[in-house]
Symmetry: C2
Subunit: 111 residues, 2 copies
């Protein structure tokens, strides 16, 4: 068993992402067999680029307010919201609040 | 894309668990292809039975304090901690605080 406070995990920048850092809380390196847990912190005004990929995101908002932008429009999300982005769905996360937005984002690991 | 506040998801009792409820925030029914997201709420003194299984738990403590009991001893965890219980590891979660313990627990979905 591994257990660790998120703040004890190194924070890394994410290339191509403005005002966004990530901490890999649980990954393949820990022996996780199926999926990884990351914690993202996004500064006010920060965002991921609009993108899509073959795998899903399962997100839980821990703090702050954000907008999830899709082709079909934008959805407001805030602390306590769970978000499922399905494989192939285009998406962008934008911090629309005055403080940091923090969320967990789980993804499947490659086979 | 699905998004929903956790409090809008029905809370269910868990058979054999004392003072424990679960909300399935993201599951197979939502089209999740790989893993599910559940939110557990444990009353003070509440606990899961000591058990083990063939799949992993990835846990993120949202609120409160708990003890994860294993053969090798007990680990204290609290809000902000990420916990990986590997397949086959025996484990029990016990709320050791004065208020509710809330945590996310992600598990892989059957093939």
């Amino acid at each position: 068993m591994k257990h660790q406070h998120y703040s004890d995990v190194a924070r890394e920048g994410v290339e191509g992402y403005s005002g966004v850092t990530v901490r890999w809380l649980i990954s393949k390196n820990d022996g996780a067999p199926t999926f990884a847990m990351r914690l993202f912190e996004v500064e006010p005004g920060g965002a991921s680029p609009y993108h899509q990929h073959e795998w899903e995101h399962e997100v839980f908002m821990l703090e702050g307010r954000a907008e999830v932008v899709q082709d079909s429009g934008a959805a407001e999300v805030s602390a306590g919201d769970a978000v499922l982005v399905l494989p192939g769905e285009g998406h962008q996360f934008r911090n629309t609040g005055d403080g940091p937005a923090r969320f967990l984002c789980m993804i499947p690991l490659p086979d």
